[in-house]
């Protein structure tokens, strides 16, 4: 539960879209793996056999595509574009995650690493959607095109699967204080100041910051 003085990092819409995206993506991982590795075919037994699993995968794909479109529209402004020189500086320091850095470059609402993750999800997510739809309905399409959809779909999976674990780690134990941003939306001031100092300053300067227990008519949401 939020305490007085905590800062609102995300609104309800953001969190709902995030978990739609995450939930559908994870279900796609699991069902996709069930088809990719014959040893994992048993995952289908919870879905009425492998045929059921295939349909769960296909229709979850639709939810994923919808979530991806919503997420892209919602986060493009904050996470879709790099801002120089801060983002470049951040990348050079690897955000201070890998070696000691005295002063980490100031990050806005999302740091350069998060932007890279966001853009990867958008790019590979779109690739998964397009290749997946063609794989679902390949009849009548040129064979030379259909053939390459499978390795492209697998490529997108390799990238998303690997990035997902980085994201999972940094969203939980790797960066304590982050998870509440996507649970109830309230984070501590210390966390915001450490992770997204520029954003905090800008929001305060614009008077848009929502602080728990304080009124703010300027506060904006997505």
């Amino acid at each position: 539960m939020p305490e007085k003085g905590m800062i609102k990092a995300t609104d309800l819409f953001e969190r709902v879209v995030h978990w739609m995206l995450a939930g559908s993506c994870i279900l796609l991982f699991i069902t996709g793996l069930g088809m990719m590795f014959r040893e994992l075919n048993f995952i289908g037994s919870f879905m009425g056999g492998l045929v059921g699993l295939k349909y769960v995968h296909n229709f979850t794909g639709i939810i994923f595509i919808v979530s991806l479109i919503l997420a892209t529209r919602m986060w493009w402004r904050e996470a879709g574009r790099f801002e120089f020189p801060d983002d470049l500086e951040w990348i050079k320091q690897a955000g201070g995650y890998l070696w000691h850095v005295d002063h980490v470059a100031e990050a806005g609402k999302y740091n350069a690493g998060q932007k890279m993750f966001f853009l990867t999800v958008v790019g590979c997510g779109a690739l998964m959607g397009v290749t997946g739809l063609i794989m679902w309905f390949p009849m009548g399409l040129p064979m030379g095109l259909v053939r390459w959809m499978y390795p492209l779909h697998a490529f997108g999976f390799v990238v998303l699967f690997a990035f997902f674990f980085v994201h999972l780690y940094l969203g939980t134990i790797g960066s304590p204080g982050s998870l509440p941003a996507m649970l109830n939306g309230w984070v501590t001031r210390a966390w915001a100041k450490t992770q997204h100092p520029k954003w905090l300053k800008e929001m305060e300067a614009a008077g848009k910051l929502e602080v728990y227990g304080e009124e703010n008519k300027e506060a904006v949401s997505h």
Partner: protein, 269 residues
Amino acid sequence: MMSASEVIKLIDTTRCTACRGCQVACKQWNELPGLRTKNRGSYQNPPDLGWNTWTLIRFQEHVNEKGTFKWLFRKDGCMHCTDAGCVKVCPSGALYHTEYGTVGIKKNLCIGCKECIAACPFEIPRYNSRTDKITKCDLCLTRLQANQQPACVKSCPTGALSIGPKDKMIAAAYDRVKVLGGDANVYGDKFLGGTHVLYVLSEKPEVYDKLPKNPSIPLSVTVWKDWLKPLSWIAGGGVIAGSLLHYILHGPKRPYPEADQGDHAERGE
């Protein structure tokens, strides 16, 4: 006649008269319906393989360099590859190698994903939208298991079709080619690990309609199954291991203590 070791079905196109007995026998034995088709001005009927047509005589009018006209008849159907693209991609194990080296299909396992269609160099697997499953020739597996010849072989009146142990059939094919001379050649033993259907062709392979000169497993299948598939768990596992290592060696990134200001700010966790 047929022990449980590798067999080869030999198709000697030079002996085929295009009576299409095999086509009918296949339909009859496998209870495949004949669907109404239109006259397209060719004896080749139906026009293509389909979920209800696992084998088909292709009719081709051929004029050679000397200007001589010739009918080419080729019995098309599954080649029963040793390196079978279809088996390699099938996610359910519906397509599999039988005890005879042929490629069988367990209908109940097929999920209708159509992955095998794009993986076969010969465009053999066909989709039945009514059952949502793939069909193709299984070289009459149940007949082989009952010591019987495949229905198409049994029906062939000219001896163009025969079946037997692998080595014997390869030798027979080469003997026949020697007798024929000219451009005659054996097709099937030199690629895809050797197929379990072998042709004796009277012309060079490239002369025939819909017959790839040098079939191979599509590059897309190799990239997908041999490179990216192992990479997926290597990358995933590597990242998990890396994250744990980071947690232990470097430690998580906590909010800086100096960012703690005011009485209501707290440390992360």
